[in-house]
């Protein structure tokens, strides 16, 4: 087991290297350069000024030199300074936006699992019933409905007409004047819509997964055996079927680790949530190379790590796989 783990960890290094190389080249090949992009077509920006800005960012060096310099820093875990005009360390910018993204993703993931798994179980148990069809339509509607459209409708209804929920942002304008308890409530109220809407879109995947996996198990002979020896249905489902059916779900859990730090641009823009999606989008638009690379490296690392965790937890949960090795 340990050897396997080390081997996997070791192979992550060249993989990460390859990912960074490809990303670096692709980003630098897109037209437009940092700093000057906003100043494009601005009469006050003279040619000398342009050159000055380019050399400030080191863009006058050939690309392989730039990559080498970047790589030299990144192995020391130094993500460098942002090329955006705020020139802050990339790591600060990421740290500032990571918590809210993780909170929202985590909450919506919990919600997805809490709602999606029961739906899946229900649909498998009462397959082809009317309720099964209604639930299936419901989760697919969530999957298919464009987030921005749904979000705007709900904001208009719950925010503007009923005035129940705040429309956007994560804190009220007078946040600093609230008591600690009011602060928590304030943030929670701001989080209701974003979390629910982002969870709504994810229900389909997990509930379908759960359903098909449980159906698969229910067809097994040992389930028939369990029924035959007279166990009540609830015990059969809970003790025998569900345990096995949940195994593939663990894999999904592992694979959603990198998703935790990624945010959707459209979604975050609509709710004015200062999260990772917006940061990434704005960095791409401003050609802020160090920030883009920083986010990509972290994302790549988490993806590889998530895969590893999925594999390991699968082995831990399922004795067949553990012994097979």
């Amino acid at each position: 087991m340990l050897r396997y783990l080390l081997k996997r960890l070791f192979f992550m290094v060249p993989m990460l290297f390859g990912i960074t190389l490809i990303s670096f080249v692709v980003i630098h090949l897109t037209p437009g350069e940092p700093g000057v992009l906003e100043a494009e077509m601005n009469p006050k920006v003279t040619k000398q000024v342009r050159e000055r800005i380019r050399s400030f960012y080191g863009l006058d060096k050939p690309m392989h030199v730039q990559y080498y310099l970047w790589l030299k820093r990144i192995v020391k875990l130094d993500f460098g300074m942002s090329f955006a005009t705020d020139r802050r360390p990339v790591i600060d910018k990421i740290k500032e936006r990571l918590p809210i993204t993780i909170i929202i993703n985590l909450l919506s993931m919990v919600l997805i699992f809490l709602v999606g798994i029961p739906i899946g179980i229900y649909c498998a148990r009462y397959k082809d019933s009317v309720m099964d069809k209604i639930l299936t339509s419901f989760v697919f509607a969530g999957y298919a409905a464009p987030t921005f459209w749904l979000a705007l409708l709900l904001m208009m209804f719950l925010g503007v007409y009923l005035e129940l929920l705040p429309i956007s942002g994560i804190k009220s304008f007078n946040f600093s004047e609230l008591s600690p308890f009011e602060k928590v409530i304030d943030v929670l109220k701001h989080l209701i819509l974003p979390v629910c809407i982002s969870a709504f879109g994810g229900l389909a995947g997990i509930s379908r997964y759960m359903k098909s996996s449980l159906l698969e198990v229910l067809r097994q002979e040992y389930i028939t055996t369990a029924y035959a020896k007279g166990l009540p249905e609830s015990v059969v489902l809970r003790k025998h079927a569900l345990r096995n059916a949940l195994l593939p779900v663990i894999t999904i859990l592992g694979l959603s680790v990198p998703g935790l730090i990624g945010g959707s641009v459209i979604f975050e823009s609509i709710f004015s949530i200062p999260g990772m999606g917006q940061l990434f989008y704005m960095s791409v638009m401003a050609r802020d190379y160090p920030t883009i690379m920083g986010i990509l490296v972290i994302g790549a690392f988490l993806t590889l790590l998530g895969n590893l965790i999925a594999d390991i937890s699968y082995a831990v949960a399922d004795p067949r796989i553990r012994i097979g090795q």
Partner: protein, 561 residues
């Protein structure tokens, strides 16, 4: 509205079983008691009241400021915030005349080569230190320092010598008289005592600015908002509005919802929002709508190296064939005026008596026949067998321009010209098409500078890579006039030069000038003292006020920077 809430929930609750129902009702009560939605008092916003100190104005911005040291940023949110925190030596008043800001007065030397600024005494930085001429000197030095990555060094690089005469007198000397010189000193003056000897690019001031302006920086919650508080010691008097909050709302639809929810007080509107979507009693009861001519115009630029567009008759013909009024009425919903040249009608440099290309299809066709085009039996114009067709480039994300392109396409097809429209993402648009002169015609816009110097756009020497005369316009007379106007300080004389330039441009028609749009805004009615003017709205922001009975927000936090 509340009635609606209750009945709605009531219907739902009756359908649910008893214990669950009770729970839901509790939940609802808790929820309602928490959601302290601001009920607007039916205040008489029509009563102008008297100016008093207090209340908060909440504005919104699509983008987040990037850097609050203005010389280091090029985005408008940064400059909007910075304009409240810093002062320049001079500024524009509401009618676009130059008046003193940190400078009490100034005098020009007889040769017009140097300016001596007499600075205000007793001005304090927000941290309490006195403001002196050394701060001005520092600002100049750091701007021209080659190590500073600023986009605004251009004007200051023309300074031959800058000198501090005493603590409150500052002198600059130029190599040549330079008309925009004075207004170039409207740049934000930075605090020397906090910056000198340190690397400006990593200074904490870029996140926590310290200036001399009417508002003091309070806090910046990244991605969420910037908060400023009124400067008690401001040299023109403390601003009436106690607090300024700029919320960052990246989506314009969300921003509009927030406006309708009264959670922001001021927002720029699109023509559709201005004319239709805000035209209902409840909105009109709460908001005033303002408009003023914005400092920009939209145009079609022709690549003058193109064999067809070389001929000015062809360009004039296209201008005649395009119906500008239809563009303004149809796309801007009337919120704009026809552009006749590179200035807007309420500027002193604007010449209204230039040749206008009113919509006239016959004239367009006859001009094209003069230019040796012939209409074939298929209705297509041809010259020497080449059909008249061209590609009109538009940048992605600008709906108004894309719609303009479609109207132009339709109008030109009526006289036998085929127009293809290509929409391209901004960075490629500039790098692949404009910079490489790889285009036939484009729809673009320019910001109109307050000072009418347009040398960079029209002088024939400005055709290099990344320079702005990308259409390759060359006219000896315009070149001469531009240089003369630039080095003349007498306004009447300058005016003559710019009038002549506009006449030539209207005759040569290197651009088809389309329109100057109105800037349209909604501001909550409780704010009084707003005066729309040629320079916009915020020129007298510190005099805006909310009468006592109409205030909406209280400030509990002690006012301290």
């Amino acid at each position: 509205m509340p009635n609606f809430t209750l009945s709605f929930t009531f219907v739902r609750i009756t359908e649910i079983k008893m214990p669950v129902k009770r729970l839901l009702i509790y939940a609802l009560f808790i929820f309602l008691s928490i959601s302290c939605s601001q009920r607007e008092d039916v205040a008489l916003y029509d009563n102008p009241g008297t100016p008093t100190y207090g209340d908060t104005i909440i504005t919104a911005s699509i983008g987040e400021p990037s850097n609050l040291i203005p010389i280091l940023s090029t985005d408008s949110p940064s400059h909007d915030v910075a304009s409240f925190v810093y002062n320049g030596l001079v500024k524009y008043d509401k009618n676009l005349n130059i008046v003193g800001d940190l400078a009490e007065s100034w005098e020009l030397s007889r040769s017009n080569l140097s300016i001596v600024f007499h600075l205000r005494k007793n001005v304090k930085w927000h941290d309490g230190k006195p403001f002196t001429a050394h701060d001005v000197m520092y600002t100049y030095r750091v701007t021209v320092d080659p190590k500073t990555p600023t986009a605004y060094a251009g004007d200051f690089l023309l300074v031959k010598e800058a000198k501090v005469l005493d603590d409150y007198t500052f002198k600059v000397t130029y190599g040549k008289p330079f008309a925009p010189a004075l207004i170039s000193w409207s740049t934000a003056i930075l605090p020397r005592h906090l910056l000198e000897g340190r690397d400006i690019t990593t200074s904490p001031l870029s996140r926590k600015p310290v200036g001399t302006g009417p508002y003091v920086f309070k806090e910046w919650i990244p991605g969420d908002r910037v908060v400023l508080l009124a400067n008690e010691q401001y040299f023109e008097g403390k601003p009436y509005i106690e607090r300024y909050i700029m919320r960052i709302i990246p989506d314009s639809a969300t921003m509009f919802l927030e406006l309708k929810h009264y959670s922001i007080d001021m927002m720029g509107l699109t023509p559709l929002q201005f004319v239709r979507q805000t035209d209902y009693p409840r909105f009109n009861r709460e908001f005033n709508k303002f408009k003023y001519l914005s400092f920009s115009y939209t145009y079609i630029g022709y690549n003058l190296k193109h064999p067809f567009f070389k001929d000015k008759r062809v360009r004039q013909a296209i201008s005649y064939a395009i119906n500008k009024k239809e563009i303004i009425d149809g796309i801007l919903l009337g919120q704009g005026v026809e552009a006749t040249g590179p200035y807007k009608p309420d500027m002193w440099a604007y010449n209204k008596d230039v040749r206008r290309h009113e919509y006239n299809k016959e004239k367009a066709i006859s001009l094209l026949y003069e230019a040796k085009f012939k209409k074939g039996s298929d209705g297509v114009l041809r010259r020497d067998g080449n059909p008249f067709e061209f590609t009109l480039l538009v940048n992605q994300g600008n709906d108004v321009r894309i719609k303009c392109a479609e109207l132009v396409q339709k109008r030109l097809s009526e006289i036998g010209i085929t127009v293809k429209i290509r929409v391209i993402e901004w960075a490629s648009f500039i790098n692949e098409f404009i910079d490489k002169r790889n285009f036939e015609a484009v729809i673009l816009g320019w910001t109109i500078p307050n000072d009418p110097d347009i040398y960079d756009i029209w002088h024939s020497s400005k055709q290099g890579v990344k320079e702005l005369n990308f259409i390759s316009f060359e006219n000896k007379e315009v070149d001469e006039l531009l240089v003369k106007a630039r080095h003349t300080l007498n306004r009447e004389e300058r005016k003559k030069y710019y009038f002549r330039i506009q006449e030539i441009l209207a005759e040569e028609e290197p651009y088809t000038f389309l329109f100057v749009p109105y800037a349209t805004l909604a501001i909550h009615k409780r704010f009084k003292g707003i005066e729309p003017s040629p320079s916009g709205l915020t020129h007298n922001f510190i005099k805006w006020y909310v009468p006592e009975g109409q205030r909406r927000y209280k400030i509990n936090a002690a006012v301290s920077p």
